[in-house]
């Protein structure tokens, strides 16, 4: 899987330390360009850390040390001359809890476009409408676009964050437990959207809940204690796991 040239994101011997803690150990994975790749593993195994190494959000962590390689479409994300903003723009991020920026609903959606230099009111209006429609929020908010985004419900905020991420036209969507803070209906909406989006985007979904993984995964990477235990097609990993640890996790013996 890792050597497949087709893979959009590839890591080679990736090791991450935070302070003296060795968080990720010799991670070699490949993420195919289409479908949903679920990074699965118990709480604290390093899933979020791995996700953040992809778009270099890990750089914000104090005392972090990253060794090894992360390739995005074959280019080294950690190369000295890498345009970090460019890398990040290619990868949208949806967090566990919605992160509305301290501005209006409208300004949230167009924020990315704005910082990338789009100044035409007409174009911004059009994009705002397109992406709010895409996440099914347009009907709910079109008459109060200037309200602060924090006035929306959590579920609406999460869809707003998705719209905001999609508006900068990324190629990859990174999701870190995007539904765990939401009510069942809102979760369902997000799940359905990810399913729709997976034909166009590379989707990486981090979760520790097996149910969600089984529901959405096309590919699975199972991590335990900072190491990749097993990776492959969802069918194979769920139904015929080759490693004892994976089996144990699937039947709920470890979590």
């Amino acid at each position: 899987m890792t050597d497949n040239k087709e893979n959009r994101i590839v890591t080679k011997d990736l090791n991450v330390w935070i302070g003296k803690n060795h968080i990720l150990k010799d991670v070699n994975i490949g993420i195919p360009p289409r479908g949903i790749t679920v990074i699965l593993g118990p709480s604290g195994c390093g899933k979020t850390t791995l996700l953040k190494t992809f778009n270099r959000l890990i750089d914000l962590v104090d005392g972090v040390k990253v060794r090894g390689t992360v390739l995005l479409d074959g280019t080294d994300v950690y190369h000295n001359t890498q345009d970090i903003e460019g890398v990040r723009k290619k990868m949208g991020l949806l967090c566990q809890r919605p992160t509305p920026l301290p501005m209006s609903i409208y300004d949230n959606v167009i924020y990315g476009l704005w910082v990338h230099g789009e100044r035409s009111r007409k174009a911004l209006d059009r994009k705002a409408e397109i992406y709010l429609k895409k996440v099914g929020l347009w009907a709910e908010v079109h008459d109060r676009l200037t309200d602060p985004a924090t006035k929306l419900s959590l579920g609406q905020q999460q869809r707003l964050c998705l719209a905001r991420g999609l508006a900068v036209e990324p190629e990859v969507i990174l999701c870190d437990e995007p539904t765990s803070a939401l009510d069942p209906t809102s979760s369902r909406k997000i799940e359905n959207m990810l399913r729709e989006l997976k034909s166009v985007y590379t989707i990486v979904l981090v979760t520790h809940t097996l149910r969600l993984a089984e529901l959405l995964a096309d590919h699975v990477i199972f991590i335990y204690g900072g190491r990749v235990v097993e990776q492959g097609d969802a069918d194979q990993v769920f139904n015929n796991p080759t490693k004892k640890l994976t089996k144990a996790f699937m039947v709920g013996e470890i979590s």
């Binding site: 778009n55 959000l57 914000l60 104090d62 903003e85 460019g86 990040r88 723009k89 990868m91 949208g92 991020l93 967090c95 809890r97 992160t99 920026l101 301290p102 501005m103 924020y111 990315g112 910082v115 990338h116 602060p148 964050c161 905001r164 991420g165 900068v168």
Partner: protein, 293 residues
């Protein structure tokens, strides 16, 4: 035996006493100042007191206009200098400084905030007054002793740096990491993130720090009285000496006892100061409430 509930009630009663003391002190100060201001208000019109530029107690002229203008000018100069410098240094300290530098600067600022104003006044006399009279004034082609509105304004600005900086640093640092991450993942640069997200999120605190600084500048007495020259005239330029409401109160106290109207005029100045400070505080509350929805 007093029951647990009984004790609870007793504590509740006892704990209201301190706040009652505070409130009654404030109210009696207010009442006292009003009472002592009555003589001047009865013999002169309010408009005359506030707008006349003639302050000559021996001849019975009690126009406060020069002090009002002096106070406003000094405060405005202080704010114009202090606000941008403080906000930008707070941004640097919070967002850009390496960790070791950060903690050093923060403790220096805490020390600065605790220095008594008379020390600032002394340093201003030793450094700033000669600088203004020998260099700044001549540069603008103005003859000045250095004891001036500008000197007082600059001194005040230095005194309010620590207030604004420490509140802003606190506010910037409390902006959650997830918000910064949200902005960065959309491809924003660090500066854009600071400008559009961190600063905006922290803006209610930034406003309140500015208002607090303003209050400090407005009421500051000692340092201003030491460097402003204390002349009760409307200053012709920022290089002229002048005086402020707090400074006139401090510098004329004692000599005023013999003239009843003089005493009353000074009491009225104090009342004016108090009223402005109260209005200012109410305004600050309103502004903050409006911005921190």
């Amino acid at each position: 035996m007093i029951s647990k509930k009984g004790w609870d009630r007793i504590y509740e009663r006892l704990l209201t006493v301190p706040s009652l003391i505070v409130v009654s002190v404030f109210i009696s100060m207010f009442a006292f100042l009003i009472y002592r201001s009555l003589p001047i208000l009865e013999s002169k019109s309010l408009g005359h007191i506030l707008l006349s530029s003639r302050w000559n107690p021996d001849r019975g002229s009690f126009g406060l206009f020069p002090m009002i203008i002096g106070t406003i000018l000094v405060t405005v100069i202080a704010m114009v200098i202090a606000v941008p410098i403080s906000i930008f240094s707070a941004i640097y300290i919070s967002e850009y400084a390496p960790r070791s530098v950060k903690s050093t600067i923060k403790s220096i600022i805490d020390v600065l905030a605790g220095i008594p104003s008379v020390v600032y006044g002394m340093c201003a006399i030793l450094v700033l007054v000669p600088l203004v009279s020998d260099h700044v004034g001549p540069f603008f082609g103005v003859d000045t002793t250095g004891y001036s509105v500008l000197t007082a304004g600059i001194t005040l600005s230095v005194m309010i740096f620590p207030i604004i900086i420490s509140i802003c640093v606190e506010a910037f640092q409390s902006v959650p990491l997830t918000l910064r991450e949200a902005s960065l993942t959309l491809g924003a640069t660090k500066w854009e993130t600071v400008k559009y997200v961190v600063f905006r999120k922290a803006s209610p605190s930034v406003y309140s720090s500015i208002l607090l600084g303003f209050g400090r500048a407005f009421g500051e007495t000692m340092a201003v009285a030491m460097v402003i020259g204390n002349l009760p005239f409307v200053p012709r330029s920022v290089f002229s000496p002048a005086t402020t409401i707090p400074a006139i109160i401090a510098t004329t106290y004692g000599e005023m006892m013999s003239l009843p109207l003089f005493d009353s005029a000074i009491m009225f100045s104090a009342l004016l100061l108090l009223i402005i400070v109260v209005i200012f505080n109410i305004l600050a509350k309103v502004v903050i409430m409006k911005y921190s929805r």
